[in-house]
Each structure stands twice: as C-alpha cells, then as structure tokens.
C-alpha cells in the first residue's frame, strides 16, 4: 500500500516537473518533448493490447487515422464554438469513433491468433486508409485542415506540449490501473496460454475485446491531438504504416515487460531521431534501422529489460 502511494506520488512529481519545462526551454526543444509524448502515448496505447495479451497489431495507424479524421470533421461542424469546447469535441470524436470502429471489428478479428491477427490489422489499416482517400466526403486525398485551438497568448508548441503530456499521463494511468486489476491478470493469462486461461474460467473473448477497444479508442483520442498539432492532415500523413511500426519499435526497444518500456523506447527513438540525427537527414533511415537491429540483438527485452538484468 505504501509502495503504491510512493509510485503515485513520484509519478505525479515527475509529471509536474515535466510540465514546468516549457517555461525554460526553447521552442525547438518543446517540440521535441511534444513529439516524444505523442509517440510515447501511441506506444503505450499499442502496448495496452500487445503487452498484456501478446496480440501484436500491425495496423494501429488505423485508429490514429480514424481519430484524426473524426476530429477534423467534427471541428468543422462546431467551428463557431469556443476553442475549449472545440478541443473537447475533437478529442471526444476521436476517442468515440475509434472505439466504435474497434468494437465493430473486435469480435471477428480477435478470433485470429499470432501472425494472422497481425496481418489482419494491417489489412484493416490499409482498407480504412484507402476508403478515406477514395470517398470525397472525407477529403482524404486532398486533405483537411484543422483550426488553431491554442488559447490566444499561449505559445502553440507549449499548449500542445501540455496537452500531449496530459494525455500521456492519462493513458499511462489507465494502463497502470489495468495492470493491477482482475482484467490485467486475465489478460496476462491470455498472453501466457490463451487456451489454458479459457479453461481456467477467464472470459478471454470479453477481456480481449475490452483491451482492444480501450487501446483503439485511446489511440483515436491521441490521433485527434496529433491531427490538431499537424494542423493539416491527409491520408498519407495519418494512415501511415510507419506510425504502426513506430509503436511496435518503440515498445520493443524500451521493453515489452513493463509499462515504462514503451515510454523509454519512445523517448530514445524520438530523441535520437530529432536531436542526434537532425543533421544527418540523408542517413537517418539507415541509422534508425541499425539501431533497431542492435537493440533486438543486444537487448532482447528492451532497454528496461537490460537495466533490470544488470541490476541483478
């Protein structure tokens, strides 16, 4: 009990400290922080499903895209409202639409296991991406622009920095609470041996669907923030295979074994990309690729796993 309290207090202190950073940092570094929080948020959302159940989705960008376009279309409808209201409407639209879509496909798709689930999620992302650009209602091929909802007087990057940080905190809190709940233990049982879990009375289908819908919905909410921050979205920018891959890579680099893994991975990968490789744009991809290979071979349980191992 005391330990739980300690973790909560430490986490709150850390987030509070992070929240003060924009007061001191230059715009460029604030934007780096913002990117880290967004990619960490996405990675945690992906990890909500994969880390608990070992269902590796290859198409989570579907939910980013759905959230982004839902937010953009909603904001268009409520253009006259106050910015705060617009923000709430956009976030809610992203969350709900992505969750509804996740719920709609959950039952058929979660029957598939292993590589088949992985590929099916890729297919979902591809179909949705193509649909958004094929039908003019979505404006996917031409793109949609979003209004600037940052309060006047506040620096835009700082506003999104705080917004992304807050969402990351929420997503992490949800994941943390789940990991200590009956749902979390059931999901872990599914990861170890789904058939055995089912025989032991874990309602495997229901638990998987809950994890999937939560994961998809939260990804959609973050997708709305992602879109608002971009200001202008196209199919290619939000239904992007590399977004799905980044979630996987960040989680594996950081380590699948704990909630901190995806966050650490996102911090390392995004940090390296934005800070170290900023001057090496031409070889950016190759260095990222080498980094991935190196991490998989040297630290198979991710950086978090490596740290645990050296401490033992």
């Amino acid at each position: 009990m005391a330990r739980t309290l300690l973790v909560v207090v430490l986490a709150l202190l850390l987030f509070a400290a992070l929240a003060t950073l924009p007061l001191f940092l230059k715009a460029f570094y604030i934007r780096v922080g913002l990117s880290i929080f967004l990619s960490a948020g996405f990675a945690v959302c992906w990890w909500l499903l994969a880390g608990f159940t070992a269902y590796y989705s290859f198409g989570h960008t579907a939910f980013v895209g759905v959230g982004a376009f839902a937010a953009a279309l909603t904001l268009r409808a409520v253009a006259a409202a106050a910015p705060g209201l617009q923000l709430a409407a956009g976030l809610l639209a992203g969350l709900v639409t992505a969750a509804v879509i996740a719920a709609a496909i959950a039952w058929p798709i979660l029957r598939l296991r292993g590589h088949y689930f992985t590929i099916a999620m890729l297919a979902v992302a591809l179909v949705l991406g193509e649909a958004v650009s094929a039908f003019p209602v979505f404006g996917g091929s031409a793109g949609l622009s979003l209004p600037n909802i940052a309060p006047s007087g506040m620096r835009v990057e700082a506003f999104f920095y705080w917004l992304a940080l807050a969402l990351l905190a929420i997503v992490m809190a949800i994941a943390w609470i789940i990991s200590r709940s009956r749902l979390g233990y059931g999901l872990a049982a599914i990861r170890e041996d789904e058939d055995a879990a089912q025989m032991l009375g874990v309602p495997t289908t229901r638990f998987k669907v809950v994890a999937f819908v939560l994961s998809g919905g939260l990804t959609g909410a973050l997708g709305a923030v992602y879109a608002l921050n971009l200001g202008y979205i196209t199919t290619d920018s939000v239904f992007r295979g590399s977004l799905s891959l980044e979630m996987i890579v960040n989680s594996l680099v950081g380590g699948m074994g704990s909630l901190l893994g995806p966050v650490i991975g996102a911090a390392i990968m995004t940090g390296v990309t934005k800070l170290v490789l900023a001057d090496l744009l031409e070889y950016h991809l190759a260095i990222t690729g080498l980094l991935i290979v190196a991490v998989v071979l040297v630290a198979p349980d991710g950086v978090a796993g490596l740290w645990r191992r050296t401490r033992r």
């Binding site: 798709i109 292993g114 590589h115 992985t118 890729l122 996987i248 991809l285």
Partner: protein
C-alpha cells in the same frame, strides 16, 4: 465483351507477376515462420540491379536474372546468418520481424542515396511491341515476364520436390525437431531458405522492372502484395502462391476496368481481410506446413 476478355488477359498476366513476386516471401514464411519485411527491398533491389546492368553494361534484363539471383542469394544468406538467425534465437516471434524491418530501412536508405527517389524504368528494345490475337492485344514484355515467372516457379518447385536440399527444407518446415534428429543442421536450412527466397525476390524484381516504373519506396507495395497473395493462396505453397497471384491480378484488373483505379487497392485489401477472417489458412491451405 472484348473489354472483359482484355481485362481478364491483363489480369492473368499481371497475376503471374504477382505470383513470382510472392514465392520467396511464401517460402520464408512457410519454412521459418518469419514475416520477412525485407522481401520488398529484395524485389526492388533486383529491379535496380537490372537497371544498372542494362544502362551501364547494356545487358538485357532477362540475361541479368541469373547473376542478380546469385548476388541476392549471397546477400540473403549473409543477412540471415548475421542478423535474422540471432534474432530468431531470442525466441520472440516479433524480434525476427523487427530485424527484417531494420535491415529494410538500411537498404532503403542506401538505395535512395545511390539512385535518388525519382521514378526509374527499364525499357529494352522489345518493350513497346504489341501482339494481337483477334481483338485482344498482348504486351510482349508482359508475356515474356509472365513466361519467365512460370519458368522460375517451376524451377523452384522442382528444386523443392526432387532435390536433396529441397527435401531437407520441406522436412524442416514440417517438423524442425524431427529434421534435427535426422541430423539436419536447422540453421543451415534456414540460411539456405532465406537465401533462396531472396534470390527469387530479386528475380521477380527484374521482371517487374521491365513492366512497371519503380522507386526505392515501392518496396512497401511489394511486401504488402506478397502478404496478400500468400494469405489468399496459403502459406508455404507454390500452387497457393500461383493461385493467389492470379486471383489478385484478376481482381485488380477487373476493379480497375469496372470501378476505377482509386478502388483497386481498397478491393485488394478488403479481399485480404475477408480471406483472413473466413479462411485464415488460405484457399489451398498449406502444402507442407500444418496450419498453426
């Protein structure tokens, strides 16, 4: 009526190319249970190899297939031994997939630096010849590529069916432990499988390069198409890859003619999703691997 016939012909010819472009992926998936994200880069690498041979040395793309297959074989062997096998031994199924992705990024970067990201094409002297049979026209290049594809698939099939190493590969796919207890060095088999898969990817890339314009970033497309073909036809089966390829080619051609080009990819991906949900083991199931 003529449109339909022409569309079907185009579909089958394109399907043949899709088949040959997927067999390497299918072999690696079926034998090693590794989703090889580097597949597309070997395909596109083959196209660039043929481009270099044609534009600098004046070698006909078809003649460049054997040496390019050899180069891809060696590269694939090294890639498997140095990077993928160590990842496979980590025991995490996604580890292998991730290193193939890492390898792809490196290769993609090098290709882009070497050739820029602009669109290239190979057009040997016979590229613009059109044959007519009644009212249906055939691109000579597509016909040649189709025939070459069939020849290559036939060659791979005979290798797997009749040769000693082919038998060893099939046995290892069916039961790794069973094969090891016979004295098979499973790591050598996996290296060979990956090398053969890479060689066939490169060969298909040459054929693709003769028919279609290409850029380094196209690699994603060919990995995804291989995915779809293999899912449709069934993992690890050459017959499945051929059936899946032709079906996909027909779907693509029919959608393009009757619904419009914007819908071709969407319909293809929908078919992938539908197959997965209804028949996850593909239409033919698996020829030498029990369903997982």
């Amino acid at each position: 009526m003529i449109t339909l016939l022409q569309t079907l012909v185009n579909g089958v010819l394109y399907g043949g190319i899709l088949s040959i472009a997927a067999v390497g992926f299918s072999l690696i998936f079926g034998v090693m249970n590794v989703i090889n994200l580097a597949h597309g880069i070997f395909v596109i690498g083959g196209a660039y190899g043929a481009l270099v041979a044609w534009s600098t040395l004046g070698i006909d793309p078809l003649a460049s297939i054997p040496p390019l297959m050899l180069i891809a074989f060696i590269l694939g062997w090294l890639c498997q031994r140095l990077v993928i096998q160590p990842a496979v031994q980590r025991g995490n199924p996604v580890a292998a997939l991730l290193v193939t992705f890492g390898f792809t990024l490196v290769a993609l970067n090098l290709l882009t630096v070497a050739f820029s990201s602009s669109v290239r094409s190979i057009s040997p002297s016979y590229s613009f010849i059109n044959l007519r049979l009644g009212d249906v026209s055939f691109d000579l290049v597509r016909l040649v590529a189709f025939a070459c594809g069939l020849l290559l698939i036939g060659g791979l099939g005979s290798f797997l069916r009749f040769s000693r190493w082919g038998r060893i590969i099939r046995a290892t796919a069916l039961s790794e432990l069973g094969a090891r207890l016979c004295g098979v060095d499973a790591r050598a088999v996996y290296a060979l499988t990956f090398a053969v898969g890479s060689a066939f990817a490169a060969a298909s890339g040459v054929l693709i390069g003769m028919m279609l314009p290409f850029t380094p970033a196209e690699e994603v497309t060919w990995t995804v198409y291989a995915f779809i073909v293999v899912t449709l036809g069934g993992v690890g089966s050459l017959g499945g890859a051929m059936l899946g390829g032709v079906l996909l080619g027909l779907v693509s051609a029919l959608t393009q003619t009757y619904l419009g080009g914007v819908f071709t990819n969407m319909v293809m991906f929908l078919i992938l999703l539908g197959t997965l949900l209804l028949r996850p083991n593909g239409i033919l199931g698996s020829a030498f691997k029990a369903s997982r």
